[in-house]
């Protein structure tokens, strides 16, 4: 099984008033066809920057690439310009966190879908030719009365309905990769369940790769096949779902999972300043297992015996851990 999305050694920075912010540092990530990859980590760890890089949507003037690349079905995404624009919205699509902000409130849903398809899939253009495909897709995302949905304005739909329209739109061009950016954060439990079930079924049926960004570890448990954990722009662990939740190796993964327990007070300390990254592991200042080597040398993301990936000098349960602090 070859990877649909293959990110290797990606380092990205953004120019800010305070100097260069090193947002992503040597990110390695591969997502396969039909797989849902969870991407978890604290706010500000680089999840959104990564998603924007995948969409070829980073500001051309402010962003700065230090190395590495993103290959989507073999095509390089980071070259920007018209090539990336051609892939965006067709080969890779995006499900936003807040669908209300992504629709124009003044136009009917149907009008907006038609205009989008004219821009992105000109081949399908014939008067009214876009409609049957859209209607069957709306049915596939379990929206009853698709004709009424197309004639409605965004505010007339419920949050769950809007999110399902967004999912239908993201699936319409038959993309190879779908980036779902916290698609269920704003939804209540019963609507979340429907949306998660839908994502899972559609990924399996249509063979699309899904990169699922979330804060909600229970939602990640529900839909993901593998989980990757990011901390301050570095991928620290990529593990198969069951192993992540039962035997996570990276201390940060462990501490993240411990936040769900009663009486937890969160992870002590703050995320490091992206303007002055350390040469070593970025989690070291908050890590109970750190030693001198963690501060000096960045651990490589290495394949473990069970196929999971880990970047840590002192994994959880390692006897030598913490001895030098």
């Amino acid at each position: 099984m070859s990877a649909v999305l293959d990110i290797q050694g990606l380092s990205l920075g953004v120019r800010t008033e305070a100097g260069m912010a090193h947002i992503l540092d040597h990110v390695d990530l591969a997502v396969h066809s039909g797989e849902i990859m969870g991407l978890v980590g604290e706010s500000g760890c680089g999840k959104t920057t990564l998603a924007r890089a995948l969409l070829g949507n980073l500001p051309e003037s402010g962003a700065w690439k230090a190395g590495g690349g993103i290959r989507l079905d073999g095509e390089e995404m980071l070259q920007g310009g018209s090539k990336a624009r051609a892939l965006r919205g067709r080969v890779v699509t995006f499900i936003p966190q807040d669908p209300l902000a992504s629709f124009n409130p003044l136009f009917r849903i149907g009008t907006q879908i038609r205009d989008l398809l004219r821009a992105k899939l000109p081949a399908s253009e014939s008067p009214g030719g876009w409609k049957p495909a859209v209607i069957s897709m709306l049915k596939a995302v379990l929206l009853p009365y698709p004709d009424a949905i197309l004639a409605a304005y965004p505010h007339q739909l419920s949050t769950g309905q809007r999110q399902r329209v967004m999912i239908a739109l993201a699936l319409l061009p038959q993309p190879r990769l779908i980036i779902a950016d916290e698609p269920t954060t704003a939804l209540d439990a019963s609507t979340q369940r429907q949306i998660l079930g839908l994502l899972r079924r559609l990924a399996a049926e249509r063979g699309a790769a899904v990169l699922f960004t979330t804060h909600d570890l229970a939602a990640a448990w529900e839909v993901c096949d593998r989980i990757s954990v990011m901390y301050a722009g570095q991928v620290v662990e990529i593990a198969e779902r069951d192993r992540f939740f039962t035997r996570a190796r990276h201390p940060y993964s462990r501490m993240l999972l411990a936040c769900l327990e009663d009486g937890s007070t969160g992870i002590p300390g703050d995320a490091p300043d992206p303007h002055a990254p350390s040469a070593g592991c970025r989690f070291a200042p908050r890590c109970p297992n750190r030693s001198q080597i963690c501060i000096e040398a960045r651990p490589e993301l290495a394949v473990q015996s069970d196929g999971d990936l880990l970047a840590c000098h002192h994994p959880w349960g390692d006897a030598a851990a913490g001895a030098h602090v």
């Binding site: 604290e42 419920s158 007070t265 969160g266």
Partner: protein, 330 residues
């Protein structure tokens, strides 16, 4: 909570909030019942959670109690005095004692004010303290909320998400409120900040003997800090009881459905064997009968005729005709 029968801090009786629907020339053509005949009581020192799906009336309830909305019917008693009823204007003095914490405290801080100015403002409005007294109170609250004094000179955009939550809570606590209404305090937070916020809420409650009304669709957050939970469905209170009873032995079919929709780490995937469950807003509010009738797997024809009343069975009330016939969750 004491064992002697004391009068509750907050008592809500048959509260209703109907929003008018207006037609073409502003004539009222109908009304949306956002809350209907909701009754419950909150004891001093207690944490009551209000849960339910979007549109259940959770926020309307919070806003009515906070005095932002005037109720259509019913009455709210607060510390023995009438707080809200149709046509009642709220005394300014009660505003300080009952505080409302918005979902995103960062958005409720003035972006061009330092934190110091934002914290002085409520004290200037509600007290006649000198500047020095105010500063001392602010120092005490800032420390309790886990901030340091240098934060006082920062603007909201210079604080992190977790610090903003702390600042929002500090701003409410300087007035020494008795009841704090928390509207979705954990929405949109990452797990680490969420755990921090929940621990902070617990700590502040003990320190300042606060009473909380927690409005949330985050059932895990509700479980971790609430003493009791009230479940709202389309403006009706369908179940209320001790937190553990609600989670372990829920009685109302809606509560059961809500809990079944929660993904549980380590459990089976709930979306496997996924079926369309229907949506609250797909059906209009029925004029008679149980509001959950159209979605209820246990409904009988009788459920469409009469509306069940909330029972009070040893502190665990449920508004359902059939709850005793439904087998308990294994």
């Amino acid at each position: 909570m004491s064992d002697a029968p004391v009068s509750p801090l907050l008592e809500v009786r048959l509260l209703a909030q109907h929003f008018p629907v207006r037609g073409l020339i502003g004539r009222q053509t109908g009304s949306v019942p956002a809350l209907d005949d909701v009754s419950f009581a909150v004891q001093a020192g207690e944490v009551l959670g209000i849960v339910g799906e979007s549109g259940a009336g959770k926020t309307t309830l919070g806003r009515t109690l906070a005095g932002i909305l005037e109720p259509t019917r019913g009455a709210v008693q607060f510390a023995g005095a009438l707080l809200a009823a149709p046509g009642i204007k709220r005394a300014v003095s009660t505003r300080a004692r009952l505080q409302y914490v918005h979902q995103d405290p960062g958005a409720s801080l003035n972006p061009s004010w330092t934190l110091r100015r934002a914290l002085h403002e409520p004290l200037i409005i509600h007290t006649d303290w000198t500047r020095a007294t105010r500063a001392e109170k602010i120092r005490e609250i800032i420390a309790a909320a886990g901030l340091v004094e240098s934060h006082l000179d920062l603007y909201p955009h210079e604080l992190s998400g977790g610090q903003l939550r702390r600042a929002g809570l500090a701003r409410v606590l300087v007035l020494n409120p008795e009841l704090v209404i928390l509207d979705e305090p954990t929405a949109g937070l990452d797990v680490s900040v969420r755990a921090m916020v929940l621990a902070l809420l617990q700590d502040l409650r003990r320190r300042f003997s606060l009473t909380y009304l927690l409005i949330s669709h985050d059932l895990f957050a509700a479980r971790s800090i609430c003493d009791r939970i009230a479940v709202l469905y389309r403006g009706k209170l369908v179940e209320i009881g001790p937190t553990e009873r609600i989670f372990v032995a829920p009685r109302h079919p809606y509560t059961r459905a809500l809990l079944a929709a929660l993904p549980r780490i380590g459990g089976a995937r709930i979306t496997e064997g996924f079926a369309h469950q229907g949506e609250a807003h797909a059906h209009p509010t029925p004029s008679a009968g149980c509001r959950f009738y159209a979605r209820c797997p246990f409904a009988t024809p009788a459920c469409a005729v009469d509306e069940p009343k909330l029972t009070d069975d040893a502190g665990h009330g449920v508004a359902c005709f059939r709850w005793q016939d439904i087998s308990p969750i294994p």
